[in-house]
């Protein structure tokens, strides 16, 4: 892929393709409470340096990329866990301020990180974890075939969308409530401008 997109774009794409297009095609960005909290949380997580935690070597704020997926970004934490053959296997851990979600948005983002690490290190990574700020607990994520396919397919679709600069039309839904781009997206505006125009022009 000739263009790489940030890892966060994939998560935006899975949440709402239009949101992803508004950010990466239209270059609209608006911060709300949720994004600001997330940014500050990452600021703290990213400030840490490499070290050991419970006998496991870990590195923080690890730059990663994949040419195959066309993604680049930073993994919050990568633990190096000893594998069965004695070689260390990377174990990505992502920090999220909220709570675990039913949908695969967060798991796919973590899986994409693992796939980046695999490409960079020639390793096979079977699982990782997401630390959620709300329950303050880690959730283990297994990178199985369906999750990997989801990542690959979404990356392809997302790149096509950004490459052709096509912003999908707005669809209004429950997701819109927490979206910081609601103001720019205007998911509820109707189409019939001519009727509106004429109504105003009445005597």
């Amino acid at each position: 892929m000739d263009r790489t997109l940030p890892l966060s774009a994939l998560q935006h794409y899975l949440y709402c393709p239009r949101q992803c297009a508004l950010i990466h095609v239209e270059k609209v960005w608006a911060e709300n409470r949720f994004t600001a909290e997330g940014r500050l949380l990452h600021l703290r997580a990213d400030s840490g340096s490499a070290g050991r935690r419970g006998g496991v070597a870990e590195d923080r704020a690890v730059p990663i990329r994949s040419d195959r997926l066309g993604l680049y970004g930073v993994a919050d934490v990568v633990e190096m866990r000893p594998g069965p053959d004695g070689r260390e296997i990377p174990y990505p851990v992502e920090y999220k301020r909220g709570s675990p979600k039913v949908e695969d948005w967060d798991r796919a983002q973590l899986c994409a990180q693992a796939m980046c690490l695999e490409e960079m290190l020639g390793a096979v990574i079977r699982d990782g974890a997401i630390f959620y700020g709300k329950p303050r607990r880690r959730e283990r994520v297994v990178f199985d075939t369906p999750l990997r396919s989801l990542v690959e397919q979404s990356c392809r679709d997302m790149h096509t969308m950004v490459e052709t600069a096509q912003t999908p039309p707005a669809t209004h839904g429950k997701r819109c409530r927490g979206c910081s781009l609601k103001g720019a997206c205007m998911p509820k505006t109707g189409q019939d401008v001519e009727r509106y125009l004429l109504k105003g022009l009445e005597p």
């Binding site: 707005a170 720019a184 509820k188 004429l198 105003g200 022009l201």
Partner: protein, 343 residues
């Protein structure tokens, strides 16, 4: 929906603005300091000799805060933009449509519709509230002219027709504008628009409030990634913010003109607040300027139902919404540009 944030107007000469973390620090010449968090602001307007540190300028650019420099009397000098401003694809589409007479005429028609309908509503409101104190016949004749414009706008018009109608609507409206001054009519007499320099107090007030409106509309357009210089109704002229002038048309009467009228009619600005120069040019003094700035800021906080979105929003946000709507119509997300109709 985006929140309406404050605009910081700095009028004290010799003030120095700098950045400290996420705050703007304002140091007056006498050493007094004030600070404001950047996230509560969406614009800074500096009048006259106000200094800003480069890091504050950069921070404003990055956070999308509109920072403008004006002369002491409110003429726009320069604005600051960050390293990446807006969306080049949207701007290219804007240029393509500005070059296309049919697409331009569509947007021009909406813009003029907004101007005509809102000017008419201001005259009607005056007839309703003060019918006994004004020359009602004159006002009604102006309303008729605007009705006629509105009728012609019910079908598509050419760009030239739209421009002609703009002149006709403004002519009819300003011919009776002086009628709406009900207080100290001698000092605030008005016979038509004049500017550069304004030759009477009313024109002086109008010009100043239009500058404030232009600043806000321009920054709203820039915030959504449009080029404020390339208009549809207003032809390109170097240095002229054509698109900002287009979008201003719908706001002039009810946002700017009515503010000027109520400042005069409520006696909040008085004849002695103006200085006449040898040449006949009229300027306002510092206190009057402050009164106008405060009133403008307050007016922007008044809430009204947005007629197209059907959502209650502060009037100051309406600039952003209209900028958003024009961007969406340029991108083809909407089948036209819906102007803000004031009721």
């Amino acid at each position: 929906m985006k929140k309406l944030l404050n605009t910081l107007y700095v009028t004290s000469q010799g003030t120095y603005l700098s950045k400290d973390g996420e705050c703007v620090v304002i140091r007056a010449e006498n050493g007094q300091k004030k600070r404001f968090p950047v996230h509560v602001l969406d614009g800074i307007v500096c009048f006259g000799n106000v200094l800003c540190s480069p890091f504050l300028l950069g921070h404003c650019g990055e956070k999308g805060l509109a920072l403008s420099f004006m002369t002491e009397r409110g003429r726009y000098l320069a604005g600051v933009r960050g390293p990446q401003s807006g969306n080049v694809l949207l701007r290219r589409e804007q240029y393509r449509q500005a070059d296309d007479p049919v697409a331009s005429a569509d947007i021009a028609r909406s813009v003029i519709a907004g101007k005509v309908v809102n000017s008419r509503a201001v005259l009607r409101r005056c007839l309703r509230d003060h019918g006994d104190r004004v020359d009602a016949g004159m006002l009604e004749r102006a309303v008729c002219t605007l009705d006629e414009c509105a009728r012609r706008l019910q079908t598509p018009v050419s760009l030239d027709e739209a421009r002609g109608m703009e002149g006709q609507a403004a002519g009819a409206y300003f011919a009776v504008f002086g009628q709406m001054v009900l207080q100290d009519e001698e000092a605030f007499s008005f016979d038509g628009r004049n500017r550069r320099p304004p030759l009477d107090a009313v024109n002086c007030l109008l010009s100043f409030v239009y500058t404030l409106l232009a600043h806000d509309v321009r920054s709203a357009l820039e915030a959504v990634g449009l080029d404020p210089q390339v208009g549809f109704l207003h032809r390109d002229r170097p240095g002229r913010p054509g698109l900002a002038l287009d979008v201003m048309e719908e706001f002039r009467s009810f946002m700017a003109d009515r503010l000027v009228l109520s400042l005069i009619n409520r006696g909040e600005v008085r004849a002695r607040g103006f200085v006449t120069k040898e040449s006949g040019a009229v300027f306002m003094d510092d206190d009057t300027r402050k009164t106008v700035l405060t009133a403008w800021q307050k007016r922007k906080q008044d809430e009204a139902m947005h007629p197209f979105l059907r959502e209650r929003i502060p009037l100051g946000l309406a600039f952003h919404v209209q900028a958003q709507l024009i961007a969406r119509s340029i991108r083809g997300d909407l089948d036209g540009y819906p102007p803000y109709y004031w009721k």
